[in-house]
């Protein structure tokens, strides 16, 4: 049976959802239903990809158009599959953690659906034009989400984040233009499958590769919040409403890493070797400098913001390790980080709503008063530290093994990063969950999760973290052939 139409369906279903909400359907129910419904094509397509390796939609065998050769082509293979699942899962959870009665509900859910849609489209696009465009779709809804429904210095955070991301996108755009233009006119194409194939047999000149790698590093690096392009991220996440932070830290940030693995690394390998030392320094700064900054935080949201940014250093270590093991570890950690960051930000939102604050010194005794809250909070913290059995551990250990031979120094630095992150997270859990019940918690009349309808998003994310942690093969299996095709000669 021809299943290719399921690919656009993944994008059309949320789009119809936004339309229905705009026309007056009950916002939360529609958004939830749409996110749940989108799992169906997700499951069917996974079956196809696991069996055949790849599925494509909209590829026309027409000749390349001269002026502007864009073609709306969608594709799903082993590497995009985990990313698509991450998006589907986090979108669903993000819809689930939002309670009824938020102000301007309609616009809120439309924005959330659009952010998720942007992520999905970017991971599914084969044409570079749409790959870039879909990511940008999320930009304005994020701006509005932080600006309208955010907390703290929401105005500043929204502007900073939007302009920073736009800057990163434009550097990225210039890098992509350069990549396409570096190919001789006869073979020029926007289809990254064709582009990868061509550049593998006809590599670019080393100088060109270095220049393009540097442009792509700054472009993607800003989107990933690699040091020193990170300063939009912690504050942005701390100010954003929980579901927006979940989607952004969990999904959209992975777009940059996905782009690096899909395009930048395989197409300009010599360039990456050339600037490897620079990336090493940047990732060390991510781990140590931002790790120390995380230690200083007194607000749980800010702590999560910094810790989520710092873990990008570990992923980068996997990328520059130059081994399939390290790269596979990076993909597993991307999934693990996406899920654990989503769970963490969701918990921060929950605690903020129930206790009225996320200042860690004002909290305390959650474990006694609200054992379920305590449980999921601990899961999020442990996942972020890299406790064995949860997804992040599987990724980190693979990265450390994979990069040891090439970069022992950076692996040692990354190990210290784990220590810093452990201290920060354990301190947070201690002061929030244990000890005597604080006055604020008492005064707020804090209640625990009640029933399935409140718990399921958290249980769902925890379940996925456990699955990937215990059976990392669910991610490693599908990505293996793709990574081999991209990186082995």
């Amino acid at each position: 049976m021809n299943m290719t139409w399921l690919l656009p369906a993944l994008l059309v279903i949320p789009l119809i959802g936004t339309g229905l909400i705009a026309l007056g359907a009950p916002a939360r129910k529609t958004a939830l239903f749409v996110s749940l419904l989108n799992l169906v094509p997700g499951f069917l397509l996974s079956g196809v990809v696991l069996r055949t390796g790849e599925i494509l939609f909209g590829l026309q065998p027409t000749q390349v158009r001269e002026v502007f050769p864009v073609q709306f082509t969608l594709g799903l293979d082993g590497l995009s599959l985990p990313m698509v699942w991450l998006t589907l899962a986090v979108t669903l959870a993000a819809m689930g953690v939002t309670r009824e009665g938020i102000k301007r509900e309609k616009e809120y859910f439309i924005c959330l659906l659009l952010v998720g849609l942007g992520g999905l489209g970017a991971f599914l696009s084969v044409d570079l034009f749409y790959f870039f465009s879909f990511h940008e779709v999320a930009l304005i809804p994020s701006f509005l989400l932080i600006g309208i429904w955010g907390q703290g210095d929401r105005t500043g955070a929204a502007w900073r984040m939007t302009l920073y991301l736009m800057f990163g996108s434009l550097v990225l755009l210039v890098g992509l233009i350069g990549l396409v233009m570096a190919v001789p006119e006869m073979a020029r194409t926007l289809d990254w499958r064709v582009l990868t194939g061509y550049l593998k047999t006809n590599p670019l000149a080393p100088g060109t590769q270095t220049a393009l790698a540097a442009l792509l590093l700054v472009g993607f690096g800003t989107l990933i919040s690699l040091f020193p392009f990170h300063s939009w991220a912690p504050g942005g996440y701390a100010s954003a409403p929980a579901p927006a932070a979940m989607l952004h830290a969990g999904v959209l940030k992975k777009f940059g890493l996905y782009g690096l693995i899909r395009l930048a690394l395989p197409l300009t390998p010599l360039g990456w070797k050339e600037i490897g030392w620079l990336i090493g320094l940047m990732l060390a700064a991510n781990l140590l400098y931002l790790g120390l900054a995380a230690l200083q935080q007194r607000d749980f949201r800010w702590l999560l913001g910094f810790s989520s940014v710092m873990h990008m250093g570990t992923v980068f270590l996997g990328l520059i390790g130059g081994t399939l093991l390290g790269l596979s570890g990076a993909v597993v950690l991307m999934v693990g980080h996406g899920l654990s960051a989503a769970l963490g930000f969701a918990m921060a939102g929950e605690i903020g709503q129930r206790a009225g604050t996320t200042w860690m010194q004002d909290l305390g005794g959650l474990g006694k008063k609200a054992p379920k809250l305590w449980f999921y909070l601990t899961v999020a913290a442990m996942a972020s530290i890299g406790l064995p059995g949860l997804a992040n551990f599987a990724g980190e250990i693979l990265i450390f093994f994979g990069s040891w031979s090439a970069h022992p120094l950076w692996v040692a630095v990354a190990a210290w990063g784990v220590v810093l992150s452990s201290i920060a997270m354990l301190r947070a859990v201690r002061s929030m969950a244990f000890g005597p019940t604080s006055k604020t918690v008492d005064a707020s009349g804090l209640t625990d999760f009640k029933g399935f309808s409140e718990t399921w998003p958290y249980a769902f994310l925890t379940f996925l973290l456990l699955v990937v942690g215990i059976v990392p093969g669910v991610v490693l299996g599908p990505i293996r052939p793709v990574l081999e095709r991209l990186f082995l000669p």
Binding site: F68, V70, F72, L144, L163
Partner: protein, 486 residues
């Protein structure tokens, strides 16, 4: 015979018809003059598209030609006229209400001039057509005889327009002096292969200065914000879209494809055009940042857009010309709806300050969505049409090796988002002010704006129609190539 039913003739006839109707018809009929103008402009648009590319009257052929540019830009200008008629129809003239027919008719004459301009193949024709446009616009800008702001706008436009025409005429004179003709193909034929004489370069410089005023390029931009702000809204619309586009059509005609498309001239003018482009983008973007009056904001945004087009044009290659053509369409489709919207805002609030947009996202979600999409398209955010336009500017610059332009263009595109988000922020983000009168947009305008917004989105996702237009505009002449006999 059918050749005489070309858009130019129909436009002039419609204009004259409107004035006669006002003079002769009974009072009841006169009230419908606005609506009649809109209907007339739409019918002319239909006819222009349907009959595009048909030959010109024989007697015109020494001065005008029909080629890809005319096929693409005559509908462009008539579409602008439809927009202007729509804006005029909804515009309150106040004390000048009694002469509404003239207010409706003058844009028709100006548009006729623009259509002639698109097909001009001789500098004499350019001059005559340009004057037809300019004089109509002077009248339109100062239409509110009793309002100082409008008078000031008219005065500024008159002085600056006169100055720019002066430069242009001087340039034409020098060109005639150096080559003995004002016809494009003969100039080309005569100068090809020779090193450029100082007189020719001076002529080209003067002509560029004259056109620089028309497109509001730095350093000839200073008139734009004041005139946009002071002139009646329909005039602003005409100036912002049609007039600017006409300047670029002439730049393409003269420097890109026609009279001065010479290697010797290009050598000198490539860096000049690119520098102007860089300065224009930078100034337009930075000066727009502090603006809180949307008309001024649009004026500076228009200057920035002119800068991007100058950057693409400055590469003086075929790709650059194509990019400008595509960019102009993207600019039209994003700017015209915003101006229609602003006219309505002004009608309700008597000012176009950004704070009047506060709470619009909840009051009128359809309007807000459409206008947001247009603003984002102007900002060049994918997947909207404006992104494709900016992308092809950047691509053109990259393949021409113009790295400074590429860098400045990219940086300014980021900063540009800073002011395009200001109205969006006001519409969705700010608390609703208490004093907003509960006036809603008429439903047909809601649909027009929504449609325009989604047009930007759809064409951004699937830019094939615009690509076809670009290809068409660069296609070789449809009529026999210009006569080259002496």
């Amino acid at each position: 015979m059918t050749a005489w039913f070309c858009p130019e003739v129909l436009l002039v006839l419609s204009g004259v018809g409107l004035i006669l109707l006002d003079a002769l018809a009974p009072h009841g009929l006169r009230k419908g003059v606005s609506f009649l103008a809109l209907v007339l402009s739409i019918s002319v648009l239909g006819w222009t598209i349907w009959s595009s590319g048909q030959p010109l009257p024989d007697s015109w052929k020494n001065l005008f030609l029909a080629d890809g540019i005319t096929v693409v830009f005559k509908p462009f200008f008539v579409l602008c006229l439809v927009g202007v008629s729509l804006v005029s129809m909804r515009y309150k003239l106040g004390t000048e209400e009694s002469v509404r027919a003239e207010f409706m008719a003058l844009p028709f004459f100006a548009t006729a001039g623009l259509c002639l301009l698109a097909g001009a193949r001789d500098f004499l024709a350019i001059f005559v057509a340009l004057e037809l446009v300019s004089i109509s616009l002077y009248l339109l800008a100062a239409f509110h005889r009793t309002k100082p702001a409008s008078l000031e706008a008219g005065m500024k436009l008159l002085v600056m327009g006169g100055l720019s025409t002066g430069f242009l005429v001087m340039g034409i004179a020098w060109l005639y002096a150096s080559s003995g003709t004002t016809e494009f193909s003969r100039i080309l034929l005569q100068q090809a292969g020779k090193p450029a004489s100082p007189a020719l370069l001076l002529a080209a410089g003067l002509i560029l200065t004259g056109l620089g005023f028309k497109v509001a390029a730095v350093p000839f931009h200073a008139w734009a914000p004041d005139v946009y702000e002071g002139a009646p809204m329909p005039t602003t619309t005409f100036l912002a879209v049609a007039s600017k586009a006409a300047g670029f059509v002439l730049l393409i005609r003269i420097f890109g494809l026609g009279a001065l498309a010479l290697e010797s001239v290009a050598e000198v003018f490539r860096p000049i055009l690119l520098t102007m482009g860089i300065a224009t983008v930078t100034l337009g973007t930075l000066a727009a940042l502090p603006q809180r009056n949307l008309k001024r904001l649009l004026a500076y945004s228009g200057i920035a857009h002119a800068g991007y087009m100058l950057l693409a044009l400055g590469t003086l290659g075929e790709a650059g010309m194509g990019t400008v053509v595509g960019y102009l369409w993207a600019y039209l489709l994003a700017t015209l709806p915003v101006l229609i919207f602003l006219n309505e805002v002004e009608r309700i609030h008597q000012s176009s300050d950004v704070r009047h947009l506060e709470g619009l996202g909840r009051r009128d979600p359809g309007v807000a969505l459409g206008v947001t999409l247009c603003f984002l398209s102007m900002a060049g955010l994918p997947p909207l049409l404006g992104f494709s336009a900016k992308l092809s500017v950047l691509t053109t610059l990259w393949s021409a090796g113009e790295i400074p332009g590429l860098i400045v263009g990219s940086i300014m595109a980021v900063i540009g988002l800073g002011f395009y988000l200001v109205p969006i922020r006001a519409m969705y983000w700010e608390r609703e002010a208490d004093v907003i009168p509960a006036v809603r947009f008429p439903s047909f305008l809601v649909w027009v704006l929504l449609l325009a917004g989604f047009l930007n989105l759809i064409l951004g996702l699937q830019p094939t129609p615009i690509i076809r237009l670009v290809e068409r505009s660069l296609a070789p002449s449809l009529v026999a190539s210009p006569k080259l006999n002496p």
